[in-house]
Symmetry: C2
């Protein structure tokens, strides 16, 4: 029997952290964890309500730790745990850390879901682990009642209680939230759940208050606001899970397809910028509504949004006239990261929700590029990494641990299917993959929404179910032209040879040029889909701009080649690295080192949403990035002109040449003669 | 001739500060002042534009300083000064401190208007000097242009320039202001005037930007938001001058005359609090419009408002439901001082203007009482000071250096002319002063808007010009009843004697009581103005509440008497200290120690508007004030009952008795018999 006057200590070892120390017998596990700096979650602060602090006590012999642990290391299951188990269910072997007391030497495992700063492994090229460190957290707090002797403000007593129980000091609140405090405190009988926003820089802010314990997790929204599409993820801010993803067309499209036409609209139309601001804010509001509906939650449960976008969208979204971005020296109104009320942008979230907008890098290189940096981490790379975010504008980032450069290149909308004869956006029915038989020169293809290739059984039925083949999207046209190049249907100058020159029966003359028939759906009332000479020219212009931008950065960096390439962008997710190389979109690189990383800007937005440390990291990284302006660099023009052709075997593309052989053909549009050399 | 390689120093002495030091010959006076820590104003930063840095060089022998100064101590008047003199005029003997260079030993006087931290002597009881230290200041700043090599944001370059040229670091800006930066910088050719709000706690904030140099001073608005009236001053934030004063009825009046009826309205009507919030914000907006119109300025030139008010108005203005203020323990939603955007309250000022709301002291003692403390400074008083702010509620403050106590007492609206038979608000035509001839018992009076007394020549014409005698206001009814008491027409119990009992022909029976005829305007179609028994009873109730509150604080303080009394409030400005004492409104005190200090709450608001230090001071003082709750103090009820009578010579009012003799009459309403003892 213990002598109460001389309490004994027990050794406690937490796994997987390995943190250990002696605590007095009778110390609750949660308290021991806090004392020893072990990362154990709790929203209710040890009141046995939230169950976030579940632990798994271990028994047996632990030679590594030098202890043997019996079944009596923790106090028996108490009434609170028993009740919790009855009502909510407690997995076998699990205990509530706030209820179980350490009675003897113990080894206690903290399962991943009980860690406050959970590691979330991202499925990306870098497999970088992300640690949950969001700005918004919930805390259960007990507030002392006012008395006649101390009628201080309810907000002041709440603030003091949060300081005492959760070490949150200097609380602020908007008027809208202040007005809810008194009824909620009384409804909750002075025990309430507070949603606190704390970015570690501004004073912590009370976003919302609920009576009693609130179970539902606070949510966040990560938005990639593109010129053409607005894409968003709804994220659980306790564990980083994506609850819904949604996208919509940027309503600004009606003011101009590309950014510069929108800048022009603003310059030529009184109130034009305001119109576009209203349009994009309306789009963001509809996005939050769509995400909430998809996840079956209320928009008011979203407490923070993180937005990434290019500089023109950045300005228009914030209500800043983009006119200066359209003329040298392309000075932005502001470049720093910003924290705003979400209501200022009309996002339709909780009335007190906050918005974090990532910094923009330069007048032509936006917060979306910053988000790609956050996702792909060139500044941490040992080898030289090229990141290309392909959209209406391409954001290009090149660097390694020593230095990071960034530029933007006006690729135009061809990569997104615009300006292509049968082009369309990536949607069910669009051709997205193409292969051309080198012998027969006949194509086969795959369509979005259909598993089978066009020459496989079941294709016809499946494609009919999505409404038939409707057109060709960006990744489809790239593969088609690259395959045409490999099959000898297109020469290094970009000319499509005639049927006679190429031996391809599917090539038809179109005026003085030729077109390649990919699919004839006319029998079923569908479209005839061809790759025309104009399509090849449009893609040549776009890919030259992209390639020239990358080369410009390589010149600035003093690099002759890159070690790795990340292809980002909604479209980058679907692009075939080999075909991109064949087309000369990107500098020479072993195809296995070219990785499609999906929507890296959106991923970066999600990382910033889940981690305050990531915000500080990207703000620092952006300050260190060297901005390169393509619009005034003479070498950009040189590279652009030089890159107009499509690689041939004689070009310095050794990595590509090691993988694929490009026929050394040359066609003459004038004569239509075949000149195989 | 000086050897340029070995520049000489000169001694410079600034008066009146006496600061002295050696500076290299050729140093501009402004720069020397800054080096030596002399308070010399400048908005343009030494560019010869703003003329705020005017100085008066002295010549002759200064034995006190041990120097003799010749006329060549400063460089000759230069072209900038000559041009300024031609265009704007420079007073004889004045120089521009940024242009005049120190060439030899010099004595330089800084006139008061050139001091940045000007002392403004307040005409108040304490004659406390106020030092200008406003949160909003203008600064002329030159911003580097963006270049293609450094296309950082315009806001970042402006921010850096303010840091470098004015030591303002960490600038923030609202979106509305951010959107103006680019056009203004270009219009001003990269030289702009910035209005910066810096309260010394939150990050400095850019409120507005103008191209080039802006002459007009930034303005502020100090508001005393009362239950009945809203009064405001428009203040020049560079020198504290009041440019306009205006007032209007609180539009909330329609929801209830007093505070508790408004709290009830909120409790009984769904959306009632919101309605009242909208009403008071509308009133504040109209006040800012009226002030701007009166001063002939734009509302957008007002960059900060300071608001003081009682707790119920505080909550309603902020959109907080006042229901908890109406029931024990009277907990406010929040008590701390607040800084808000003025637009949140719909004040109609500059879009980026800020609002500072003083802290409230307790659920019943408001920010208006805090403002009285700021104005009257009981916490700095060597002797015991009682401050009484008389309104619909009376705020009562008692203290000295050792300790300050505060309470609120529900006096009701009688002191403001309500609940009085011929009562009206203080407005032209209202009787405000009354004297009764001790021999004839006949009254004479003065009317607001008329210089002459009613028995003086020219009164009839003058009073006709203001529309005739229309009623009696608060100060008038107090003087009338006090004079009736002195003339023996009212006994210590508050009974009006009959004409027979008092020998006053003007007393008429009214049922079982009597009334004193003050003015019969019926011949001219005007009102008949009497002091009725009901009027005396209403004033007795109000004055008992006031007196009981003061006595309660004296009990808590352990004081038998007070040394000084400040009578504050719009009505306190017009009250006669002697008559207030005769009526027993306030504790006994030598009449010459009772001072009407006018609208002390408004003065406190004005002090806080002009001085950030004053804001910190009052926030600290409020934390130290002991709050006393009248509603639950048994002694308050005792004092209230005991104070119902009007003093007589037998009462312990030695200071009053030394000045005026109160007839020892006693009337019996039942018999109407005169009983002179």
């Amino acid at each position: 029997m213990n002598n109460a006057a001389a309490p004994q200590d027990a050794l406690v070892i937490f796994t997987p952290s390995g943190k250990r120390g002696r605590v007095p017998v009778g110390t609750p596990v949660l308290q021991a964890a806090r004392t020893l700096g072990v990362d154990l979650d709790s929203v209710c602060g040890g009141r046995g309500i939230c169950s976030k602090c579940q632990v798994e006590p271990q028994t047996g012999s632990f030679p590594k730790h030098g202890v043997t642990v019996g079944t009596d290391a923790l106090s028996p299951v108490n009434e609170v745990e028993a009740r919790y188990d009855r009502i909510r269910g407690l997995a076998p072997g699990r205990r509530l850390g706030c209820q179980a007391k350490i009675m003897a030497d113990a080894v206690i495992d903290v399962p991943p879901e009980s860690q406050l700063h959970k590691q979330v492994i991202r499925k990306s090229a870098t497999e970088r682990a992300m640690v949950m460190d969001p700005a918004v957290r919930l805390h259960l707090v007990t507030v002392p009642e006012p008395t006649l002797d101390d009628p201080t403000g309810d907000f002041q007593r709440l603030s003091d209680a949060l300081q005492e129980q959760w070490q949150i000091s200097g609380l602020h609140a908007d008027l809208e939230v202040l007005s809810t405090i008194q009824p909620v405190l009384r409804k909750g009988a002075w025990q309430v759940t507070a949603a606190i926003w704390d970015d570690g820089r501004e004073p912590p802010r009370l976003l919302a208050l609920w009576p009693g314990f609130r179970e539902a997790a606070p949510l966040g929204m990560a938005v990639d606001l593109g010129s053409t599409t607005i894409a968003g993820h709804l994220v659980d801010l306790t564990d980083g899970r994506v609850l819904a993803s949604s996208g919509l067309m940027n309503p600004q499209i009606r003011f101009g397809e590309d950014l510069m036409s929108r800048v022009s609209y603003s310059m030529l139309n009184e109130g034009g910028a305001e119109e576009m601001t209203a349009a994009v804010r309306d789009g963001l509001g509809r996005l939050s509504g769509a995400l909430a509906e998809e996840a079956g939650v209320a928009r008011e449960d979203i407490f923070e949004a993180v937005i990434v976008c290019n500089p023109v969208m950045h300005h228009l979204m914030l209500g800043l006239d983009p006119v200066e971005l359209g003329q040298a020296p392309f000075a932005p109104a502001t470049t720093d990261a910003m924290t705003l009320r979400a209501s200022e942008l009309g996002l339709g979230l909780h009335p007190a929700a906050r918005t974090y907008v990532l910094p923009i890098i330069a007048g032509h290189v936006g917060a979306d590029a910053a988000a790609v940096v956050l996702s792909e981490q060139p500044q941490q790379s040992e080898d030289l990494l090229l990141c290309v975010d392909v959209g209406t504008n391409a954001e290009i980032i090149l660097g390694d641990r020593s230095r990071v450069l960034a530029c933007s290149s006006p690729t135009g909308p061809a990569f997104e299917g615009a300006q292509i004869s049968s082009g369309q956006r990536a949607a069910p029915g669009a051709i997205e993959r193409v292969r051309i038989d080198p012998a027969t020169k006949a194509p086969r293809f795959r369509v979005i929404g259909v598993e089978a290739w066009s020459d496989e059984p079941g294709f016809a039925e499946a494609v009919a179910a999505v409404g038939g083949v409707s057109g060709i999207c960006g990744s489809g046209i790239i593969e088609a032209i690259a395959e045409m190049r490999i099959a000898g249907l297109v020469d290094p100058g970009g000319l499509i040879g005639s049927a006679e020159q190429t031996g391809a029966a599917l090539i038809e003359p179109q005026g003085r040029t030729h077109a390649y028939l990919l699919h004839d759906g006319s029998a079923a009332g569908g479209p005839v889909i061809r790759v025309t000479q104009g399509d090849v020219r449009a893609i040549q212009l776009a890919k030259s701009a992209l390639y020239a931008g990358a080369r410009l950065l390589m010149d600035e960096f003093g690099a002759e080649r890159v070690d790795r390439i990340s292809l980002a962008g909604a479209f980058g997710a679907h692009i075939s690295p080999l075909h991109a190389l064949v087309l000369g979109m990107i500098p020479d690189c072993p195809p296995e080192k070219v990785v499609a990383v999906g929507n890296a800007a959106g991923t970066g937005a999600r990382i910033a949403l889940c981690s305050r440390a990531a915000r500080r990291e990207i703000e620092g990284a952006v300050r260190d990035i060297t901005r390169v302006e393509t619009a005034i660099a003479p070498r950009f023009q040189e590279h652009f002109v030089a890159a107009n052709g499509i690689p041939n075997s004689a070009d310095p593309f050794p990595a590509l040449a090691a993988v694929v052989s490009l026929p050394d053909v040359s066609f003459n549009a004038e004569s239509g003669r075949r000149r195989r050399r």
